[in-house]
């Protein structure tokens, strides 16, 4: 099983990199670009076969290391 974890800055936390991308897209002539937010995706191969157990494991990984929950939210997808 593989876990795909999407980590994004929380709403309200300034994302200067997203802002820079937003500005660059505008500069390239792309109209109608609203707010841009940048995040990261982490993929993990898991040995665990039980989906519930796997999700719990990945949640613990997110809380312990993968995300900083002061500023980031995470979303786990098992594929």
């Amino acid at each position: 099983m593989k876990a795909r974890i999407e980590i994004m800055l929380k709403a309200g936390v300034l994302d200067p990199q997203g802002k820079a991308i937003e500005g660059a897209l505008g500069g390239l002539g792309f109209d109608g670009v609203g707010s841009v937010r940048q995040g990261k995706i982490i993929e993990i191969d898991l040995g665990e076969a039980d989906r519930d157990k796997a999700r719990q494991d990945v949640e613990r990984m997110c809380e312990a290391l993968l995300a900083n929950t002061v500023i980031e939210n995470y979303r786990i997808e098992l594929v």
């Binding site: 936390v13 300034l14 200067p16 990199q17 290391l65 993968l66 900083n68 002061v70 500023i71």
Partner: protein, 233 residues
């Protein structure tokens, strides 16, 4: 007085801070590699500047989970003073010893230059040698120094007098223009609730004696010597 400097892969100010501790604080300094799980009794722990683990994932995130940090946290909780400079401040936040997080500079630029700081708290082991409100000039060198915490945390830091240094102009005014990296409330350094754990983005060790171009950082190390005088691990 015995100090311990923790060395992570990618630390690059560990030797600078060792020299400053030896010359300005008269300390005996042990350098401890991040892979150690323990170290001998010490009066002070310093987490130095640098780019531990290449800033992978988030600055300080990997270092905060490295083997030596469990012992650092244990010692900090037992009352050993801890100073985190630059990457060390990021590690203290990621380890949970200090609140908040250091985010990418609002300008997205790596900023390496001298800045003015207002010393707001002098009752820490690292700032006792300054006057309250004193303006000092020492360098920053960081890409991720933009201090962020939620409003409740910021209010608590202010109420408890735990904002130790703030970015300011040469005349000491704390303004948006003097906030070089977008930090909430111009915060450059904070203390924990016990005031023994302090993290700061600027580098006092880089201007601790005149031949370096200034000595405004020296009082940090003299404060350490003063506050830990008579204490011996």
């Amino acid at each position: 007085m015995k100090s311990t400097v923790i060395v992570f892969p990618g630390s690059n100010c560990d030797r600078d801070v060792k020299v400053a501790l030896e010359k300005a604080a008269g300390a005996k300094v042990d350098m401890v590699w991040h892979g150690e799980t323990t170290f001998s009794a010490t009066d002070l722990i310093v987490l130095p500047g640098g780019f531990s683990y290449g800033d992978y994932l988030r600055p300080g995130a990997m270092a905060a989970k490295s083997p030596v940090m469990a012992h650092v946290i244990e010692q900090a909780k037992a009352g050993v003073p801890v100073l985190g400079i630059c990457n060390g401040f990021q590690i203290l936040c990621e380890s949970g010893l200090l609140p908040g997080v250091l985010m990418r500079n609002a300008s997205l630029n790596y900023i390496c230059r001298d800045v003015h700081l207002k010393v707001e708290q002098t009752d820490t082991p690292f700032t006792g040698g300054y006057q309250r409100g004193q303006v000092i000039r020492i360098p920053v060198a960081h890409h991720d120094g933009n201090y962020f915490a939620d409003e409740a945390t910021l209010d608590r830091l202010e109420d408890e007098g735990r904002v130790v240094v703030r970015y300011c102009s040469a005349d000491g005014s704390v303004t948006a223009a003097s906030n070089l990296n977008g930090s909430q409330r111009n915060i450059a350094g904070i203390a924990d609730g016990t005031r023994r754990i302090v993290g700061m983005m600027p580098h006092p060790e880089r201007l601790f004696e005149a031949p370096l171009g200034g000595d405004d950082g020296r009082a940090v190390f003299e404060s350490i010597a003063e506050s830990l005088a008579g204490v011996s691990a």
